[in-house]
Amino acid sequence: MVNEINFDTVIAAIEDEIGCDCEPYGGMINEEALRIPVDHLQSVIRVLRDQFGCYHLSTITAQERENQPGEVELIYHFWQGKGISLMISVPLESPQVESILSLISGADFYEREVAELYGVTFTGREETPPLLLPDNWDLGPPFIRREETDE
């Protein structure tokens, strides 16, 4: 049996421990979501894991929102009884995020996928070799919107 995680306690704990302002994002159905600054990603995950025993990372979603151009948003979906997501945004010109591989070994494949599909660089870990795309893929990250050229 799983102890369901309590969203309000989580926010309180994060604000206590790290003191960053994380804004709850109400737009995600079935999931509690939290916007956090990029630099605090590792510390928030540490709080979740150590204080709440929330270790299960379901996946990392990357997307570009139409109403936020020039930014790549990464959503880290965690789950403990119910889902809790952490949202961070990085600018498109220099998409760099600190890797959480040292905290969660299972994040390897998800980070590699985001790296090759969205061109995000994960710092603090060795090179992200391609996971799904072929070795000779030279057309750039396929999910990033770019000028459509007819070739």
Binding site: N30, H56, T61, Q63, W79, I104, G106, L132
Partner: protein
């Protein structure tokens, strides 16, 4: 002893789908392994953005051949959550029935493959023969053995008639007897036990660190099953056991799926017993209002996660699929170190790979 690297895949008798592994061995011991996915990457996530939601249901079904129904179910649940519509109870029960039948046929398929790789071809032939009973049910109600196209946004595509319900009950009874026999063989066959017991044990800490899901996690004692812990209706009204085993070796991974098959068949009976009458679908608008949603389901191999964002049009703005095999595969290089070469098929069969799911 010299170190040599044997390639397993992309084409290999062990693998149903292409996957490239380079395994370093010295004599008969494995030193390490490295993985390369992507041979069946079809770009489903990007393709989904260019199709309408209705077309996407058919696209999503083809992510995987074995667990196609649970993928479309999770997707439809996501879209229905965004639309804010409630699926009628009879449709929920039919969806659950197909999910459980899929679990049964997937586990029997996997069991045959494991037996074949260990040299027990007889068990392989028998389990696949029994699997035909499950496939007959699915074909009888939906018209397709593996691709059922059972789901549509708003409900299911077909209803069950009286004869079909009788046929389902009869086949489930037959399957229960057959699966009981198979379970007997697994528990008592000495050679199978000798090949799998004590092989590649996985500790709970490793499971949690690699975020492994599904029967592999439950075989190591982690008590998580999304059907009970994060259910979509009707699972919250159904009573069933979640099976865990403490050892975490290949034997536990073998036994747990056989036990889960039996439990799924009992669940099928409960579903048939409790199925309410009523319509099987509601009208769903084509344009989905803006919003985002995360849905989870328990596929035969573990947790399936869908993240869907819509921007008010009839095509999705972002679809992200995470299949259970991807989570389990990250543990594979770790599992493959320090075992015998002859245990490689046992370990691979124990994780029940579905590469098409992992690659999308």
């Amino acid at each position: 002893m010299n170190k040599i690297t044997i390639p397993i895949g992309p084409h290999h008798p062990l693998l149903k789908e292409p996957l490239s592994m380079k395994i370093d061995i010295a004599g008969e011991r494995v030193l390490g392994a490295s993985l390369r996915l992507g041979y069946v990457h079809r770009g489903i996530e990007k393709l989904a953005l260019e199709r309408t939601y209705v077309q996407d249901v058919h696209l999503i079904e083809r992510i995987c051949g074995i667990c196609s129904h649970v993928h479309t179910t999770t997707f439809c649940l996501a879209v229905e959550a965004l639309l804010g519509i409630e699926v009628p109870p009879r449709a929920q029960y039919i969806r659950a029935l197909m999910c459980e039948l899929e679990r049964v046929h997937s586990h029997l398929l996997w069991l045959g493959i494991l037996a074949k790789h260990v040299g027990l071809e007889t068990v392989f032939m028998h389990t696949w023969h029994d699997r035909e009973l499950a496939l007959d049910i699915m074909e009888g109600v939906s018209g397709g053995r593996v691709s059922h196209a059972a789901n549509q946004i708003g409900g299911v595509r077909f209803d069950l008639s009286e004869e079909q319900e009788a046929m389902i009950r009869e086949n489930v009874e037959k399957l229960k007897t057959q699966v009981g026999g198979v379970l007997d063989v697994i528990e008592n066959e000495p050679a199978l036990r000798a090949r799998t017991q004590g092989v590649a044990p996985v500790s709970v800490e490793l499971i949690k660190d690699y975020c492994v899901v599904g029967p592999v996690a439950r075989a190591s004692g982690v008590d998580i099953d999304l059907r009970r812990d994060d259910p979509w209706p009707p699972y919250d009204q159904l009573d069933f056991k979640v099976i865990t085993l403490p050892d975490g070796d290949a034997w536990a991974r073998t036994l747990i799926r056989a036990l889960e098959t039996r439990e799924s068949l009992r669940l099928c009976e409960t579903i048939m017993h409790k199925m309410p009458d009523g319509p099987v679908t509601v009208r769903a608008p084509r344009k989905v209002p803006e919003g985002e949603v995360v849905t989870r389901s328990e596929a035969p191999r573990g947790e399936v996660v869908y993240y869907l964002r819509s921007n008010g049009s009839d095509k999705p703005a972002r679809l992200k699929v995470r299949t259970p095999t991807l989570a389990v595969l990250s543990l594979l290089p770790e599992q493959l170190s320090a075992i015998h070469v002859a245990d490689i098929p046992v370990v691979l069969a124990g994780i029940d790979l579905c590469i098409a799911c992992a690659d999308r």
